[in-house]
């Protein structure tokens, strides 16, 4: 994927490209599945962000600051002012660019927030649990282990499972475009990751104070999302 184009996706969505630029980018999108998938993610994130601002403005701002910090997207000084509208304004002003992993992180986090994840976030925040750093790690995964420790695991795990289920459903629809052998290999690899996630969850239950186990579970969950997204991008390119 071309970083040059990646940096212009926000411009494209915001209608800030000339017709010639749009034509060139659209030509590129037809050739680059990963870039096209990134655009879709960006579009979804933007839509979720728009709905969030109305539903949970305070939480959206708070969450977005955490997301922006973790994904390394530092907004300009004036937009760090709490009085400045959060998610929507950031998207409107769009003065930072994001990478594909960053989109995943932001998208999942926003999905959590809009789909009930705010409950998770509040639960964690009320216990003084800081959202963990790490850049590019899906935010729902970052929250999950903390929540598990405090007994809110079912909610957060459900969010992760739903995120995975969404991707699996899309993949199921795209399945016919993939070679059956590829499908089999992907399913085998998903099974490997699922076993790793299950082992990590069990280990964390045994030793809930372990930073390592928490981080490891986060990472393994992120790998599953990464794999699903990658396969989805491939299937759409075929």
């Amino acid at each position: 994927m071309s970083d040059e184009w990646m940096d212009r996706l926000s411009d494209y969505l915001d209608g800030e490209m000339s017709p010639a630029e749009r034509a060139l980018l659209e030509g590129h999108l037809a050739e680059d599945a990963e870039c096209a998938a990134a655009l879709e993610s960006l579009r979804r994130v933007k839509m979720r962000a728009a709905s969030l601002d109305d539903k949970h403005p305070a939480h959206a701002r708070q969450m977005w600051r955490g997301i922006a910090q973790r994904i390394g997207a530092t907004p300009p000084q004036e937009e760090r002012d709490p009085a400045v509208a959060g998610v929507i304004r950031l998207w409107r002003t769009r003065r930072f660019s994001v990478s594909v992993p960053q989109l995943v992180a932001a998208g999942i986090a926003l999905m959590l927030l809009s789909g009930g994840g705010s409950l998770v976030f509040r639960g964690a925040a009320e216990r003084g649990v800081a959202l963990r750093g790490g850049g590019g790690i899906a935010d729902q995964a970052a929250v999950v282990p903390e929540v598990m420790q405090a007994g809110f695991g079912s909610v957060a795990i459900t969010r992760f499972d739903e995120a995975v289920a969404d991707l699996v459903q899309v993949l199921e629809e795209e399945r016919e475009f993939l070679n059956p052998r590829t499908v089999r290999i992907v399913e085998e690899n998903l099974a490997i990751i699922d076993r790793a996630i299950e082992r990590s969850r069990q280990a964390l239950m045994q030793d809930p104070e372990s930073d390592y186990l928490r981080d490891h579970l986060e990472q393994t969950m992120r790998q599953k999302l990464t794999l699903l997204r990658r396969v989805m991008a491939i299937s759409r390119a075929l």
Binding site: A196, S200, H216, Q219, I234
Partner: protein, 295 residues
């Protein structure tokens, strides 16, 4: 910044068993090639030209288009031969025919190569290289700038790169050697081996496989090697200044030199080598961690 659309169409008429054409290029250009099935082989020469030699191309039309600074090459089933091929899927992919591309290009030409049932090899470049395939292997030997490779089913190899490397395989091994620059390597069901990697930023992680790193450790460097089910081995030179963080759940730690373990907590511990300036993280959930002196 965007170029006026200029299109140069070169259509190589089908049927062809082999075909040979040459297109003039200049510095600053990028070649974008997609080949659904077969092979893409790229080598270099001194000329400011791209030579495209095709084989096994019966019934396949090759379109070459120059648009601004991008040279696009596509293989497509020629209409006159469509009936000879079985199609697959709504988008009409054909699975009976393969095209082998042998390209000779100037070393400065940035490359974007995509395939499905396609093996890709690129040798001798001094430019950025992107290579992605689903069912084939990838070899990139030589590169400068960003080298990004991914295969779903087969191994990927990256060698002799000066720049940033991002290499991943879902179901295969990742081999990276003789690289100066930032390295990110990922696999799910495969090993990762990094040899002679001179980098200040290394991230290597797999789920089911071993991870090996062999290279110098820079004082301001950060090195993260992790696996879920496999061993992690780091070969580091004498005189390394680093804080080494080790973690595992069900495995052992072994070092070929004595260290003073500190901070034993939550299945993690650390120790310091020299002034501790670099950061090395070695993690295996279900395997052993080895720290060795470089040979």
């Amino acid at each position: 910044m965007f170029h006026t659309l200029m299109a140069l169409w070169v259509t190589i008429a089908a049927p062809v068993q082999t075909s040979d054409t040459t297109i003039r290029v200049e510095e600053g250009m990028r070649l974008n090639l997609r080949n659904e099935a077969g092979e893409i082989r790229v080598t270099t020469w001194e000329r400011h030209e791209v030579r495209v030699v095709l084989s096994r191309a019966r019934g396949v039309r090759i379109d070459v288009e120059r648009s601004g600074s991008v040279l696009r090459i596509r293989s497509a089933l020629d209409l006159g031969f469509r009936d000879e091929f079985r199609t697959r899927g709504r988008r009409g992919r054909f699975d009976d025919d393969e095209v082998d591309f042998a390209l000779t290009v100037p070393v400065y030409l940035d490359l974007e190569l995509y395939g499905v049932e396609t093996d890709i090899s690129v040798v001798g470049m001094n430019a950025s290289v992107t290579a992605e395939t689903v069912e084939g292997s990838i070899l990139v030997r030589g590169g400068n700038g960003l080298v990004m490779v991914h295969s779903v089913e087969e191994e990927v190899r990256v060698e002799r790169v000066r720049g940033r490397v991002r290499a991943s395989s879902t179901d295969g091994d990742v081999w990276i050697s003789d690289v100066v620059g930032e390295v990110t390597a990922e696999s799910v069901d495969g090993n990762i081996e990094l040899n002679d990697v001179d980098s200040r930023q290394v991230t290597a992680r797999t789920v089911d496989g071993d991870v090996v790193f062999d290279g110098p450790i820079h004082d301001d460097g950060r090195y993260h090697l992790s696996t879920h089910d496999g061993d992690v081995t780091a070969w580091i030179p004498a005189g390394t200044n680093a804080t080494v963080m080790v973690a595992n759940f069900d495995g052992d730690f072994e070092t070929s030199f004595s260290v003073m373990l500190r901070g034993l907590r939550g299945r993690r511990f650390h120790f310091t080598l020299g002034d501790g300036s670099a950061r090395i993280e070695l993690e295996s959930f279900d395997g052993d961690v080895y720290l060795r002196r470089r040979r």
